[in-house]
Symmetry: C2
Subunit: 318 residues, 2 copies
């Protein structure tokens, strides 16, 4: 059996999965990213974790490559550059460093762009040539596929859709200091911020008045919406209204056949999907109306960055 | 000599040029689009005009294809669909109709997308794989090239960048009834509308107070800016500020190496380019700063839709 290691480098944990050609996961593990502020120590550990995982498989397997999804990664440069939530500063040439050690194909890509590739190879975008994947987690990431190919951009940083200004240079400030950036509204963090906005604006009774910002999780907001909490319900509607209008603008750029939503916030189900769908359709230009599907990712039970990382390698072997 | 007919179908005139592989024009002609409300009569005339043009060339030439740039054209469907400024209603299968008559390759594309292809084959985007072309004429059109390929979209209507809402669903209304659509600000028409806005807002003396909206042309606004007219100067700055900020958002989508401006408004030179460049750079996300060139089209003395139409055919023969 041939196998690819898909790697999700996150600020807190690094997660590894061994993925076969059909997208099945055969083993996985994780370790603390923060324990390795030195990149060479980190890559030593990553290599050892992967090799141990392969050796311990019940069936004999050949590791044929390592694919990585990471924040602030440039596929064209093979590097992670100035990632605010990682300890390694400046430009880190992670592909060349790891390749020198393992003598295997190594690839890296922005986690959201990799997730789009994962959706195309293993998920619900199979056979589609034009679609957009949106990850709604702590932030908002984008991956754009057109003509059957991922759009990398000039030096590998395309798809930063969370930092598109949707508020005319005004509004909430994102982690990258963009005023009115989309992810300040449409993400798990954005939803929390919207709950605060609604608590400020409205006088409705709500259990959300008893929960501090730092203690608030998306799942709680969903549970409260299910129970009819007016602030929770208003917050989802507001989020979907802004996200739907932004997606309608994205359609004018690349006219995708479908937009896939993935990431933690999608676990809120129809609470986020219904208003987003409504305001996407409402804001579409006439020529696009009725032609763009808004869909949940086909990989919601899997780690999108791991599946995307693995897709980077498998896609080259098609 | 092999030759391609490039065709620019406009609401008033249809223009034809015979373009060789290097992008040189060997002959051209034009006729009234409005004289032919029946599409079959129109295509008869178009065919005859092209054939006559080829026969009258001093050198013997072989016509190897016809490429058309037109408003509301779908490259994937080979049709013009519901173009508001053309007499032919509904979906017009122009490619199949013309091909049946001429027995040659025929292609059609949205005029702005075709112009992007023309820039890549014959203009200043030679060798570039990731760029955006923006036509600033009566409206604003977009053509996006990524991975060396034009982005068509699911059914050929990608790149409608003039109708992206930049004003949170408020603001000026475009010809397609989009509130806050970019082309209501950044186009020859948008500049005229901005002059009206400035005349309303400011009390400066200005020759523009003596010119009615319908008598106002971009060239006049440029001449007055050169003479120091404060309303003309404010209008260009306002246009560039809005266009630059919008382009910065576009960069987050496909990370182009360059953005080319083309069309009538570009004749205003630095009056439009300087403020656009300033506000593009100012609004770019950190990761893109200093990496995106704003350039004038290399085909400013040529008809972008004709060159783009011809590029559609020549690009297939590369």
């Amino acid at each position: 059996m041939k196998i690819v290691a898909g790697v999700d480098i996150g600020g807190t944990y690094t997660k590894v999965g061994l993925i076969d050609k059909q997208g099945n996961s055969h083993a996985n593990c994780s370790f603390s990213t923060k324990d390795y502020p030195n990149i060479d120590d980190y890559l030593d550990t990553l290599k050892n974790e992967i090799f141990t995982l392969v050796e311990n498989l019940p069936e004999k397997a050949e590791l044929i490559g390592i694919g990585i999804g990471a924040p602030n990664a440039s596929s064209r440069n093979g590097s992670i550059e100035n990632a605010p939530n990682l300890a390694w500063k400046g430009s880190v040439p992670i592909v060349s460093k790891l390749q020198a050690q393992v003598n295997l194909p190594v690839k890296i890509m922005n986690d959201a762009s990799a997730a789009a590739l994962g959706e195309m190879l293993f998920g619900s975008a199979k056979g589609m040539t034009d679609f957009i994947a949106i990850t709604l987690g702590t932030g908002l990431g984008g991956g754009v596929v057109a003509n059957g190919q991922l759009i990398d951009g000039f030096d590998g940083f395309a798809g930063e859709l969370g930092h598109i200004d949707i508020m005319k240079g005004d509004g909430r400030i994102t982690g990258l200091n963009v005023k009115g950036g989309l992810e300040a509204y449409a993400s798990a963090t954005g939803l929390k911020r919207t709950v605060m906005h609604m608590l400020a604006k409205h006088m409705d009774d709500s259990e959300l008045r008893s929960i501090a910002y730092n203690d608030l999780h998306g799942s709680t907001i969903t549970q409260l919406a299910e129970k009819g909490d007016p602030i929770a319900i208003k917050s989802f509607k507001y989020t979907g209204k802004i996200l739907g209008a932004a997606l309608a603008n994205f359609v004018a750029f690349s006219q995708p056949q479908a937009i896939f939503l993935m990431g933690g916030l999608v676990k809120s189900g129809h609470w986020i999907l219904s208003p987003t769908k409504k305001y996407l359709e409402k804001n579409l230009l006439q020529v696009y109306k009725g032609k763009v599907q808004l869909l949940e990712s086909g990989l919601t039970d899997k780690n999108p960055a791991i599946m995307g990382g693995a897709a980077l390698i498998w896609n080259d072997l098609k």
